[in-house]
Symmetry: C2
Subunit: 668 residues, 2 copies
Amino acid sequence: MGKSWREKLLGAPLRSEEEQDERIGPAAGVPVLGLDALASASYGPEAALSIMISLGAAAAMHIGPIALAIVLVLVTVYFSYRQTIEAYPKGGGSFAVAKENLGERAGLLAASALAIDYILNVAVGISAGVGALVSAVPALLPLTVELCLGILALLTIVNLRGLRAAGLFFMAPTYLFIGCLGATLAVGIYRALASGGHPTPLAAPPFVPTATTAATAWLLLRAFSSGCTALTGVEAVSNAVPIFRQPTIKLARRTLTLIVGILGIFLLGVGFLCRAYHIGATPPGQPGFQSVLSQIVGAVWGRGPVYTMTMASILMVLCLSANTSFADFPRVCRALALDEYLPAEFAHRGSRLVYTAGIITLAFAAALLLLVFKGITDRLIPLFAIGAFGAFTLSQAGMVMHWRRRGGRHAKKSLLVNLAGALVTGGTLIIIIVSKFTEGAWITVMVVPILIWLFSAIRRYHCKLQAASATEGPLDLSALNPPIVVLPLKRLDGVTRKSLRLALAVSPEIHAVQVLTEAMQTENLSESWRECVEKPAAEAGWHTPKLVVLNSAYREFFGPFLEYIKKLALENPNRTIAVMVPELVERKWYHFIIRHRATLLKGLLVWGGGPQVAIINTPWYMRDFPESGVARKRFSILNWLGLGLDRLHGRPPPEIELGESPSTPRPR
Amino acid sequence: MGKSWREKLLGAPLRSEEEQDERIGPAAGVPVLGLDALASASYGPEAALSIMISLGAAAAMHIGPIALAIVLVLVTVYFSYRQTIEAYPKGGGSFAVAKENLGERAGLLAASALAIDYILNVAVGISAGVGALVSAVPALLPLTVELCLGILALLTIVNLRGLRAAGLFFMAPTYLFIGCLGATLAVGIYRALASGGHPTPLAAPPFVPTATTAATAWLLLRAFSSGCTALTGVEAVSNAVPIFRQPTIKLARRTLTLIVGILGIFLLGVGFLCRAYHIGATPPGQPGFQSVLSQIVGAVWGRGPVYTMTMASILMVLCLSANTSFADFPRVCRALALDEYLPAEFAHRGSRLVYTAGIITLAFAAALLLLVFKGITDRLIPLFAIGAFGAFTLSQAGMVMHWRRRGGRHAKKSLLVNLAGALVTGGTLIIIIVSKFTEGAWITVMVVPILIWLFSAIRRYHCKLQAASATEGPLDLSALNPPIVVLPLKRLDGVTRKSLRLALAVSPEIHAVQVLTEAMQTENLSESWRECVEKPAAEAGWHTPKLVVLNSAYREFFGPFLEYIKKLALENPNRTIAVMVPELVERKWYHFIIRHRATLLKGLLVWGGGPQVAIINTPWYMRDFPESGVARKRFSILNWLGLGLDRLHGRPPPEIELGESPSTPRPR
């Protein structure tokens, strides 16, 4: 059934029992869940140093302590997520933790914040990677949007193929990146220590301009809060615990440890080397811009092939850092769907055992952002740490309540860890909101309530549905009569005959309705009705279908026909009015353009028919009929010039699906 | 039923009997059918003079003879259309005449040419009028497209209101224009004659530049062919004869005489005054541009209020000249629809007794052109005389054949008139195509075959339909069995119960199918089925519905369900499989976004169910149920902040329409 292209793209469907085989361990967990966090090693220090450009050479002195502070926050967050993993092995995530411990509203707040964060992360991650690529290969600049969408499509397909496929696919670039950057930092630190703190860069970093301002506490705080973007993505593992194979909690924790450990080392290493090599940020978007990591790699390796390889691996990881969102966003959606805040589709696993609806929603939202911003999402960056830190804070605060409720000595210690986490992340969140409010953070602050409203509206709708259709007890079969079948018709052609047969088989009471409009071709049914319908029905022992002719003063079909149905429904309040809608189906692309009359009638009846009306749609396929010679002949210009149309001359138009033509009424 | 806004806009529906009252006479006929032709008086001479700019002052000498030649063509065309009106009192039009006398293909060619011409006429007419308006009031320039679309909407609505309404609406501007321009020409000619051929202009026309080329025959021919655009619209009356009241032919002819007479006088008058006042064209689009008519009106009246009023009336008629297309295009479509070259809708009269489908199609096509060309359709002008002259020529040639077939003395004279018409218009057509081919005429030459192909394809489709569904004789009622009813269900809620009741009333064989997917909430139906369904059915003496449980290995509903239906159809080749599709309808805007599952199932069944499948759609309205307190409460931020969501806590999701939940199968 045309599924082969789909299977080629996504792989054969997986049975539900195969779920265990799809689960992963830490080796695949780091690429699947850690790319976002690891890529932060490149843009976190860059962001902090950018804020401090005005400090000149002093910036390189301050970056060390700031990196240390960020790593301290990271460690606090690490310990509290370790605990979350243990407490919520079903994949807590901020939504579950906040909901259970702080109430429904806090949960929705956390979920909205996270959802926004994940969507932004995809758009920003991909466009940052592509931005780095096109600045390295300027010939690609006009293709920016296409490249962004291409990478997005690749990520979407890989993730739709299932977890294991994604893990395998992202493993090579991830470990290449870790290896290259790790080696760079190790060699750099060794040289710095060996040279007594004053190593000679192989490729000199650009000259750092002189300071224009002094370091204020506020500036350093802003640098710190900007650097904290490095922490986004750390929550990923705790949201997705169930993707790990047995022993699940242990493997999830090990993965988190690996990710946080590597990230921490990278952050400290970058901070140290900035200081050692006197490296600062260069103003982005201006000539001579060079990223901090590029300066470090150049200082350590020079501009040879190792530089190229390392930079390529950084670029690849930036592009692919969006993948963390693909692993986690669908799980946030699933949690919301399980609580009815989203349609149930989001909680169903697709053919490859991943949450297809969430993946596709994420891809579309990110594609929209990429298209609207034409692949340049720099301006979105300020927006996107807010969601993460909002979720962090709510999650930590939830854990505090969790431990408080539990009690006991172990709980007390854990409570303190989470309290520290909540305070640090909450404080960072406030700094971020205040310092970035005018840069765009207000957008997030605006969008969150809209999302919460949407989720709540969907929930209310679900509750309304359920309240509306809940019934108990045995089926009520009192006053059960056959339906009155109403069949609109124009003439007694094959389509009408098929419908009449079904009508006779289904009910003893049939009203065949002709609406007299301004027809082009009319056929008087009153004569043929007796011969063609009444007689054979009587002979075969069936009830006689009644022919009803309605006059349409205003030349339209729908008005008089719907009036008749309304009248029938009023006169027979306890009976179903089953309207037959014969529909001619030709499986061609133009079917959807030209065959709208049956569709329109069905729509009108569903939308406004009322509780007594049912619609019996009898599709009728062109291929059901023996094709005539005329029908089979295809049009060609030659044919048209030479011959062809003349033999079509003078036939009446068919207009099969709904009928209008004059005839005298035959009341029975 | 929400019709009031429609009645306000278009007026109350008219009964078919009121058709006579809607017919018009010459007084309304001139505005309804003549605006296109009359507006030509302004752009015909302008077009001819523009070609002759390079001749300098000599142009004003040549315009007289050229105007005379154009009026001669006009008179020839006039006489031959007089004859067409008599010979085809049902509204011949070029399509009918060419089809009947030259064959189907010539008819299609004429119809395509006319259709293109009418669409272009709307776009060009409106944008020319608006162009003149914004050059007079430059503040309106940024609103060009909006003004164009506004006038288009006005024309569309006026024409949808019916013929009489359109006649009344356009009467005032038309006769104001005729009066103003007529007075201008009369006064101007009187002054010219009184001053011995050398009148003094009250406002001097701009200085005519010196000649840069001499007059060649080819240049004069091109000027003539450009001036012939003045003839477009003359065929309008012959297409629309039936809109006149009794005596139809006489009134139609009188209208044609009026239009052609006024146009001829205007053309000759303009030609004469150009010569008398030494007026030539100024290069359009350059500073100092002034239209020929503006120069004449200024020369005769000076720049006072009469000038302003006359120019305003010219501008209004330009804007409204598109109306001729609105009167005629729907009639061309109707003629095509009667011969099945277009869908039957084009031959049905709408609520105000006009051909609504044609009017709306014309409006959309013109709107598209206006949007694509941003309201500046100058470049379309070369395209648009071709269609008219193509139709003229075919129509005249058709009339020649008509008279030849008839024979007789009167016919011989008429034949000569039409032959002259055919030769003159055909010659002009050749000149237009040759001289304007590279300016864009090739587009028309390209589009015509595409339209012809489209019309032919629609005709072939109609013939195929008809051949496919034609049957004769009495209804075949052999082997008529009740259908097998298949009902997909998830649980026994109100929606399912309603469907089950209808199923029981309709057939003794019911398969209630549960597909076990990865449901969030499952309800074991096997226990309740006996209590809630089998028992009451047996007690009430009905057949027992069978519960079928299908396992979905790949967690999806549609695959296993459609497989089951296919199997049933194969096992019961002579029976109809009636699939019940319960559908929950809430009449809110978001219905179309969220309730797609029933729609999808219906679509899959209609499209690919095969000839045995029928679909019984049972709509179920939210309002059918008693609303719960929760359902009625509306969301508000205050509500959300203070209370509200908590009471929604912990309910299972409903997902009513199609079901999946586990249960043991109960074979019978």
